[in-house]
Symmetry: C2
Subunit: 397 residues, 2 copies
């Protein structure tokens, strides 16, 4: 990935990027942020520029609680919420809170690859737990917990990265019961939770928003949320929802005592957008556009890559595609992709170090949120060409 | 310290707070930030809302380099700069970069107390090095380095917290030579560096800005900077200046790869203020007002607490006051302060755990940046009353 001088990712012109998980510029509401910034700085009180309260401004947490209530059921208490500088920072803080360096952490396989990097940087020993197309296998999780203590279990249970599917409620409940029985925390990376494809803003309850783990099990689960996929990554704003005692411990860490709350100014902008309805209107747009993009990509895959196994996503940014007998890690295939000017994410990068590659050898993660929508079928055509180059008899429609 | 629902600190009305290190609201330029936000969001390009380049937008780093050049000498290369979400975060990242948990870190005594909390939270073993009124003693530092390996040395060399004085150039050079000889990094917390009292904005070079350690020794020193004391803590923007290879390693950590640059939106606001001169104008105001506040507090101390030993600060937020035979940790004294409704920071809290309390037993850190200027002499009157209560024959003018 070549780096831009301003943003994290940039490609040479002509490349269609289905690999990266950035929102397309259409999802970045510059006008709304402009209006919020004008309102937040319009008064005479410069408190938004001061050191912030460690868990985040109470008003922001109240607005956030109300948002989660509108889209997920019961609004949590503000004491169960903690404002962070994005979900990656939230995961880093969760590591600090729950795990000593060297501790064992259990993860599904595949899972979000950069979370694995955050865990490794904290010196944690990551162990993959057997998973299938629905996510982590509770029996395998129990076996892993019986083998020895773990600091926590990291999951992406809602419209997951990389597979786009959600942990079914019965599995979720089994996992939470195990967490209670074995005394471990579940760290649930739920940054895609509110992107559920559904009925739009007319009736939020009709959206198929999956439950947050911290809502279902407020005693053992810590949910990570973020505005990056809903509003803007550049604002670096996210949150933790979890046991208030855990969050109170977090507030007493040196980083928080020294620096104050993690992002008071951008939190004030988001508070404004939550309060005035701007956020909900944008979220309805995001969900509708993601669904349309998802449908476009899925149709292209089915039309052009008939033999590939793919399961519709229920939200989020990604489709997980199994090309079965194609080894997507083979240099001939990656060379073909490069020549075709299409970028995709290899399944192998979502497999924890030391775990069996297994089916991931033939899998790709395709992002439908980042490229221009019109480029999605073109990208799939290029992918299909690349498959044909390495497997001339690959079954195509 | 009671917490506000919005900002980190709040006091009951009537209390004069000389303890905390927040900027007074007069230092928070709401109008300037409002104008910058309007400009940054005025275009059609929403890149400021996207995931940011891991080390920070190149344009921001170029502006920052130019700023450091204007106030400190040679402008560093942008490759030697890394944008962070404040200096506390920068210190936390420095720990991750240079120290394994359990590693030994050397610090001056006294030193910034909340840095000690950040180091402890990272699992580091902090060892105090003998220091005098000018700062860390190079001979004692060498003895400590001879006793065993250290991951780094943490210092606040510029208008230091808590003492308000700067490490003299000959000591600084001796410390840097030791760092080279023993192969350890110096982590220099320089958040007060640009607050040097001086000639104002007409001629920046006339300001008595002390050299940054990363300027003097770009091979071994990592300087931490921040806009918190210069512009706004709530924007959560700071920087690292140090060896480019170290910063490149930082950019590859999971936290950065997953979340992108640490605060792209607020960085864009500050870039605007750096580019259009708004920042320099504000900094001139900050330095002039800090100097006036310093002079007011110092005069009050000398007038009302004649026997106290105090040394003028050359910049920063603090005066370090030695009441000599008064034990400021005594419950009778703290009760007297509370009754008098004045808050001060006890010297003891700046002494690393396990180090001798020594002279810090009779010392106080007084902040002249946070309370209203008119309250500074009133606060000293209350402090003087409190001293009289515990020592009726304390020598007063």
């Amino acid at each position: 990935v070549s780096a831009s001088v301003t943003t994290q990712h940039a490609n040479a012109s002509g490349v269609i990027d289905l690999a990266r998980g950035d929102p397309h510029p259409e999802f970045l509401p510059l006008e709304r942020v402009r209006a919020a910034a004008a309102l937040v700085t319009a008064g005479a009180d410069p408190a938004v520029l001061q050191y912030g309260y460690e868990p985040g401004d109470l008003g922001v947490r109240e607005q956030l609680a109300a948002l989660l209530g509108r889209y997920g059921g019961a609004a949590p208490s503000p004491d169960a919420l903690f404002v962070t500088a994005g979900a990656s920072m939230a995961l880093d803080l969760a590591c600090a809170l729950y795990a000593e360096p060297g501790a064992r952490v259990l993860v599904a396989n595949p899972t979000y690859h950069l979370a694995l990097a955050v865990l490794a940087d904290r010196g944690l020993q990551v162990e993959a737990v057997a998973s299938d197309a629905d996510g982590i296998d509770p029996d395998a999780l129990e076996a892993a917990l019986q083998r020895g203590p773990a600091a926590f279990v990291y999951l992406v249970p809602a419209h997951g990265n990389p597979t786009g599917v959600s942990l079914p409620p019965e599995r979720r409940d089994a996992v939470l019961a195990l967490a209670r029985r074995y005394g471990v925390r579940i760290v649930a990376d739920e940054v895609y939770r509110l992107t559920a494809f559904g009925a739009g803003d007319a009736d939020p309850s009709a959206a198929r928003i999956v439950a947050g783990l911290a809502d279902v099990a407020p005693d053992v689960a810590l949910s990570l949320g973020s505005f990056s996929k809903l509003l803007s990554p550049g604002l670096r704003l996210g949150w933790l929802q979890g046991p208030p005692d855990d969050l109170a411990r977090l507030a007493r860490r040196g980083l928080l005592r020294s620096g104050g709350g993690l992002n008071p100014f951008t939190a004030a902008l988001v508070r404004q957008l939550l309060a005035d309805g701007g956020f909900d209107a944008h979220l309805a747009f995001v969900r509708a556009r993601l669904r349309a993009r998802h449908d476009t990509l899925l149709a292209a895959v089915r039309r052009q890559l008939g033999a590939a196994r793919v399961r519709p996503a229920t939200g989020g940014y990604f489709l997980w595609l199994d090309l079965e007998r194609v080894d997507v890690t083979a240099p001939t295939f990656t060379a073909a992709l490069e020549q075709a000017q299409v970028r995709v994410a290899q399944g192998a990068q979502f497999v924890p170090v030391g775990a069996e590659l297994g089916a991931a050898r033939s899998c790709l993660r395709l992002c439908f949120a980042s490229a221009a929508e019109a480029d999605l079928p073109v990208g799939i055509a290029r992918l299909t060409d690349s498959v044909r180059r390495v497997d001339s008899v690959y079954s195509l429609p």
